[in-house]
Point group: D2
Chain length 360, copies 4
Amino acid sequence: MIVVMAVSASEAEIQQVVAAIEAQSLHALIMPGGERVAIGVPSAIPPEIREDLAQTLGLLSGVDHVAHVSRPYKLASREFHRADTVVEVKGVHFGGPQIQVMTGPCSIESYQQMATAAKAAKDAGATVLRGGAFKPRTSPYSFQGLQEEGLKILRQVGEENGLITISEVMQPDLVELVASYVDILQIGARNMQNFPLLIEAGRSRHPVMLKRGPSATFDEFLLAAEYLLHNDNQQVLLCERGVHPVDRSYTRNTLDLNAVPVLKEVSHLPVIVDPSHGTGVSRYVPAMALAAIAAGADGLMIEMHPNPRVALSDGAQSLTPAQLQLLMARLAQLAPAVGRFVIPLTGGDLKPQMNANERG
Amino acid sequence: MIVVMAVSASEAEIQQVVAAIEAQSLHALIMPGGERVAIGVPSAIPPEIREDLAQTLGLLSGVDHVAHVSRPYKLASREFHRADTVVEVKGVHFGGPQIQVMTGPCSIESYQQMATAAKAAKDAGATVLRGGAFKPRTSPYSFQGLQEEGLKILRQVGEENGLITISEVMQPDLVELVASYVDILQIGARNMQNFPLLIEAGRSRHPVMLKRGPSATFDEFLLAAEYLLHNDNQQVLLCERGVHPVDRSYTRNTLDLNAVPVLKEVSHLPVIVDPSHGTGVSRYVPAMALAAIAAGADGLMIEMHPNPRVALSDGAQSLTPAQLQLLMARLAQLAPAVGRFVIPLTGGDLKPQMNANERG
Amino acid sequence: MIVVMAVSASEAEIQQVVAAIEAQSLHALIMPGGERVAIGVPSAIPPEIREDLAQTLGLLSGVDHVAHVSRPYKLASREFHRADTVVEVKGVHFGGPQIQVMTGPCSIESYQQMATAAKAAKDAGATVLRGGAFKPRTSPYSFQGLQEEGLKILRQVGEENGLITISEVMQPDLVELVASYVDILQIGARNMQNFPLLIEAGRSRHPVMLKRGPSATFDEFLLAAEYLLHNDNQQVLLCERGVHPVDRSYTRNTLDLNAVPVLKEVSHLPVIVDPSHGTGVSRYVPAMALAAIAAGADGLMIEMHPNPRVALSDGAQSLTPAQLQLLMARLAQLAPAVGRFVIPLTGGDLKPQMNANERG
Amino acid sequence: MIVVMAVSASEAEIQQVVAAIEAQSLHALIMPGGERVAIGVPSAIPPEIREDLAQTLGLLSGVDHVAHVSRPYKLASREFHRADTVVEVKGVHFGGPQIQVMTGPCSIESYQQMATAAKAAKDAGATVLRGGAFKPRTSPYSFQGLQEEGLKILRQVGEENGLITISEVMQPDLVELVASYVDILQIGARNMQNFPLLIEAGRSRHPVMLKRGPSATFDEFLLAAEYLLHNDNQQVLLCERGVHPVDRSYTRNTLDLNAVPVLKEVSHLPVIVDPSHGTGVSRYVPAMALAAIAAGADGLMIEMHPNPRVALSDGAQSLTPAQLQLLMARLAQLAPAVGRFVIPLTGGDLKPQMNANERG
């Protein structure tokens, strides 16, 4: 932390800053300059007083501003955890050489719909089935989801098709219920800073995929992940799903693929990309799915519906099973160019995370 | 709703769109044009099928795009509720001629802190006491609030000083608890689209102040209010608190005062402005509080702490009691220029929330 | 400047940074910390090497990032010019107690149109007449302006009505021409970083109003002003005209009134606000004009057209003469509440700035 | 164009709208609805009256708003030009199967620097040499470029190495000069709406690469391209270079790769991506270059400097020659997965586009 004094700051004001730093048993280092003085706090500042100390110092007279010189998150940072984290869920590894594809409809509508979707997902080579049971809808007049009945369907068709499952949980008192049905909890973009939910999802120790909020900075995103890690949940996937767009008239969001190299550098957690929400337009999904893999993403979440035209939600951004099949083939063709694979070659060159009967 | 066909659309494609509209028992009106055809749906579309129909039509072949011609919210719209809504809470009227000022610290820290704050609020002419008991903090390492103990303190000092109270609720299963202590529930910007919370707060029929999310469009904001209204809660205050800034290095947010004339025009609900979060810097708060009133806001939420330098949160944006006193005097001086008042003239046209000795 | 080393940085990497700093004849101060080392450059860094040094250091191995601790602009900063700058143009003072109102149509269309507008401006109490002769239009199919013919009209009707004039210049080779007709050169938001234009406008020593770009940070805005000041032009007005909006469907821009207290604090230059472009909707202009004055602006630029419905550009955001008259009356009523005035108390038709003792 | 009436609009107000439309010799189609009336203009509206008519109608009483149903650009639109435009510059084809890579330093600093850069570019397989002679710099204290002297160097080293050249032009009166030295004129992001420059660059009929402004919508971007096309210049390349970021602390911009599939769909012009400015950080450039190609871009602009640590500008985002070489190899490996190639298989130094059967 660096306290930058105003050009006009007096010696007494400088000493007041030094005293406030030393009152926290920290060392203060005065850096006289040509125009102004800066005062450094060159020790590790305990995270629980970091923000408050910065604020207190910022209010002292003669202080121009306070600059942080280190990032506010610890557990999510690669600086303190050099190796990539590989999250393993029932034999599916996120963060390893295989690109994992999560697919399925926005909303779970019926057993028949989900059975068709699951079979299409499996046939195309996806490993994770998605489907929403509790739906966050912008309008109170839109379909709100099948709730627990939907979770039952999701679990059943997942098991029938050898796919692990993911579904969104929206409130802390439902974490336990949702975790009892699905393999991965999804925390949606609108809930990225729903702290009671993060704490409860952390405590569940259930794998969690955390989506970035549409105007969240990387620090805010990684601090939200820190809530999960801090509550002793290490099975965390980060998901980029698009930020608030400059132009809402062509796409629903701006998929921020810069997030992929940034997050892979500063954090050790796996990074998933959701081109369906990131564009909002199904015909742009393949291009952006390919781009995400080229940028280094560890997985994809892609909406697919047996019949998008009758979907109860998000049909405009859903692929058909045939479109998914084609996209998976293109992903499989591209992945080796970046040292990854999408669909494992069975037999022969086995990847450690797989044995034959897990793949079916 | 207008379905705009591609330049290249065929007659068969046009007829397919017409059929899809008529399948919903709606009328379709073909508008032939020089280059392309548009197809209008000139009847009122039931809100529960509005989005889904738009999406379905958008996926038909030959369709360029679908444009909505009316706004998605109804109950929040002034078109169906011409008169201003005045929300009355224990004699305090929001949306009438008096500008209501809500003030107090970000976090409730102790009885002594709140008693001092409440007295300062009352002396300055504020009518509502704020204080956070459940705190949404970006970092898991920051102070998280006194929780129910804090609510007890807030209720007590509110009653001791003749102030109504407001505090944030962050999760649906705590709505009942928080409502049992405070007069107005606050739903924070990060929770603007926490739909389970909105539904529960709606059902409580307790007054609610809903803050706009930092990247929320007006439609999204008013649809969030619609969740409250749709659950039969008419006591809704809208609060603008700043949007995602172009430049985070000088202010924490960009206070969007355009929101005031826009919301006052399209909605009938009272509009509160929070210049403390809207700037994040206490020395900019007075200018923006004055500007908010000049723009037509019905009230203000202003953070004030007996001693901002030792505040456990948001000290940087909190006024001191003396700064609040001065600001209230300046607001009182400015309000008549826009036909409002801040502190009522006692005697004559008494407001129910006051008797002479409370105002002093 | 602070060079923050990575946690893993070696002693040799630290010494490499020190050497690079000392190679510029600057002093390097090593600040050992608990987790990482920071290296300060505690002297005034010459502005011409500031960015380049930061970049060079940032590329050295073992460096995490480089943080600036001071702002990049000098001449525009209040730190080196404590007193408010008052720009005087033919007796009209910007930055003093009088709020100056600039008004007139977006485009100069004819002598008759401008004569009517000028009379309306004068009658309402405005002091500056605006009108565009060279028009920046988003579409090549829109009206592009009367060019030099328009400037002649503007000068004539300004003189006939005792108003000073302002008009936009869009290219460096026209600075001299435009300056020969108008009293203040306007540099538009789209040209805020048109550096050849800034340099030429600086060299002209003609008064300039510089509009903030729609996504410009304050540093970028003040560095653009620095181009003018650095070329020896001290007669610079800053103009906030709205930033890129979160929501384009209700207003054309988001008027960032936070800019007013921020710019008044960090710079000594007068600040003008343009609520016409800042909203894009004439019926929101009065509320935001009032708010701008309440926030501390030194002047306003307001589009007014004798007949907005037939305007060749920007009619949707233009007031009628009657609306302007009413707004000026409301501004005059509000200004004293913030210690300013709009229309001086005078005998006859005199403007106070022509007669110092009238201000007192 | 659809004029949506307010719910409360009267029959007389509706007729006034119809009359205003018919006054332009256009047909008006009344669409009665359940709650409100909409009035369509089902004919092709001449572009020169489009915006003005919309504005005029929007100001009539009883009108809620006016919605455009078609895009404002024509010449840039794929609807009226179905086939991909391939821009050919001295045998280098943009928009065909070969991905063209433009590379070189931000600023031209010396013959020696450029000769080294050009050789490195050629060796790596790039086809276009870039270098800035007239530099747009945010700060007036930064290096401003070698100007005409730089252009001479660029032309010379381009010729010596068999590379075509590109350089930025910032003002209309220099278009002719810059065009006399370089093969492609670059119009920078800050000048995207510098209309005099667009007009002059259009008239030059010289190939132009137009960069998207950092907060430009797609309509604004394509209307800027329309200025070039409308002035009879068909040799236009579009360049996405990053939009205003949510978070400036990790990357300089947010590279908007959604722009690639969007622009390829709605326009026929080739699309280039600049990951150097799109990230601002050299170590993120390779990931985003690969992603751009995967998304469908027709070319890349990548900053490369023989020695980034001593670069006079943008060193932080420049690759070294060795990094470029490695990236080109990775691009060459990835391109076939999306049906493209980077480096043609040829005998000798032949460009493949001169020899169709080499592509196969």
